[in-house]
Amino acid sequence: MSKNLKVIFIFFAFFVLSYYELNLPYQCDREIFYELRFPRYIGILISGFSLSSAGILLQYITKNPLADPFIIGTSGGVMISIILSRLFSVSSYSIIYLLMNSVFGLLSTLFAFKVSSASGRVISNILLSGFAINSIVFSLIVFFIIFSKEHSLYFLHISFGSFSYTNYSIIIHSVIFVLILLMIVNYILKYIITISFDEEKAIVLGVDVKRIRLVVFIVSSFFTSISVTLSGMIGFVGLMIPHITRRLFYNYGFQATFFLNGFLSILFLLFSDIISKVFFYPVEFPPGIFSAVVGSFFFIYLVLKRKRKNESY
């Protein structure tokens, strides 16, 4: 396929899936469309875009094919914040909700960053810190299922993702956040490319690698916070989609890859939502189950492939 044909195909798929997302399972009237279906659709767009953007930034900057906001524990940190804000009844309409989630995501990312830079074994350390945070989160969820029956179902459901908690005020807040983050990414773009090319050469060229790496970690943590706030914890999208993007669009520039990556992730989430609408409606089916099944097999495949090449961590 030629270079442009791929892009055209992706946009075509995007429009088709958007059409089905907005018109399934039945044609609705204007009010339901604007109050329920459209915010859900916009939520999927922002959430998908920011989740895989976080993934691709992390993978570029750590040069680690296994880096993913879910695996390094950022999503877990945001989940802790979501649990806390539900317990203290912080309204999801206020900006405090998104800010609080971002702070928790940032803290857990900085924890992963600190652990990863503690010694030379970057990749295994980053996985270990994520493992620790994720197990804390899941034990918290089980704790609440046993002791607070009132909220347990909510926690269980949002830990596998759900698109039905979006509203317009959250969407507006997160759009502002995403625009600011995109500006930051655009500003440090050249440094990211240099580091992902070769770290030593970047140092020689005068790039402050440590600082840029920290900034990218922070940016990706904010991207993840936005996504988890909008749609709950959808694991492995940030891992899987950048890999597919880099395989499909290896001969594109960084900026194009970045945006196409976001679009692919949106396509994946729209597809999983349409599947749940077609097969399970009117039962709400968490998209995280679908992505976890596909994504964990992909993860295992990546680990095995690495082993075959005799590359050690």
Partner: protein, 263 residues
């Protein structure tokens, strides 16, 4: 003196032989046993049991999914009533001299009668159980509900958790004169889509664990008939317990729902 002591000892021993020690592992079974008049024989109940008041004095053995087996051993029960929860506990007591009665989940109100009869059979109180069933049937009949067949949406838990035709709550609603809007879905308990609720347009909304004011703030809520005619009712925690337990108290709930739905 010794004669008296021996006499008392034999008396206590016979008492121990003939009395049943019951452990009930579901709140609804506890209520049924109390209703049959065997409440004093119960030695262990679950943490969720809160009716009648006397339950507070009984030993708690944990929740129904994970009861504390050590405590149950200590209580030395003769008979354990438990729900059909595919539980490992059955195997634990297999070789002991304990009778375990596993009762099926209730799917409608007549299943409650069956449960009462089964419990009566194992407690050797068949007469009382038949009497209780007759009493319940008579009470429901005497309510003389004029069925309006209004469409009812019941939100058992927050965030659109509702029930389908497999749940006995659906049957309770139909006995009290309404129709559950999710009657066509062959499930007992699931999370639904808010859009679908609006499309099915319920005439009556029953919400648990939430206030009516909070419910009205939801998007597009003004479209459904229940909001237009003001038929949104919040069910408080105490009533929710009655509602979610297949026990003899369900008659009260049917009476109340009959008023709410057909008003």
């Amino acid at each position: 003196m010794i004669r008296y002591i021996v006499f008392i000892f034999i008396f206590l021993w016979t008492d121990y032989l003939f009395s049943q020690r019951i452990v009930s592992l579901l709140p609804s079974y506890t209520e049924i046993i109390y209703e049959l008049g065997a409440g004093d024989k119960i030695v262990g109940v679950t943490n969720f049991c809160n009716y009648p008041e006397d339950v507070k004095n009984k030993q708690k053995v944990g929740d129904y999914l994970n009861p504390d087996i050590e405590i149950i051993y200590k209580l030395k029960p003769d008979i354990i009533f438990m729900g059909n929860w595919s539980n490992k506990i059955v195997d634990r007591f297999k070789n002991k001299n304990i009778k375990i009665v596993v009762l099926n989940n209730e799917r409608n109100v007549s299943d409650i009668y069956d449960t009462i009869k089964t419990i009566g059979k194992y407690l050797k109180m068949e007469k009382e159980s038949l009497k209780l069933v007759e009493k319940m049937k008579k009470e429901i009949k005497s309510l003389q509900i004029k069925k309006s067949y209004r469409k009812v949406y019941i939100e058992i838990d927050r965030d659109n958790w509702t029930c389908g035709s497999q749940s006995f709550i659906s049957d309770v609603i139909s006995i009290s004169g309404g129709v559950n809007i999710f009657n066509d879905i062959n499930k007992d308990y699931f999370r639904t889509n808010w859009e679908e609720v609006i499309r099915r347009n319920p005439d009556v909304v029953l919400i648990c664990g939430q206030e009516v004011d909070e419910f009205i703030k939801r998007p597009s809520v003004k479209q459904i008939a229940a909001t237009r005619y003001g038929r949104i009712y919040a069910i408080n925690q105490k009533e929710r317990d009655i509602f979610s337990r297949p026990s003899p108290r369900i008659v009260e709930m049917i009476k109340k729902l009959g008023k709410i739905i057909n008003e």
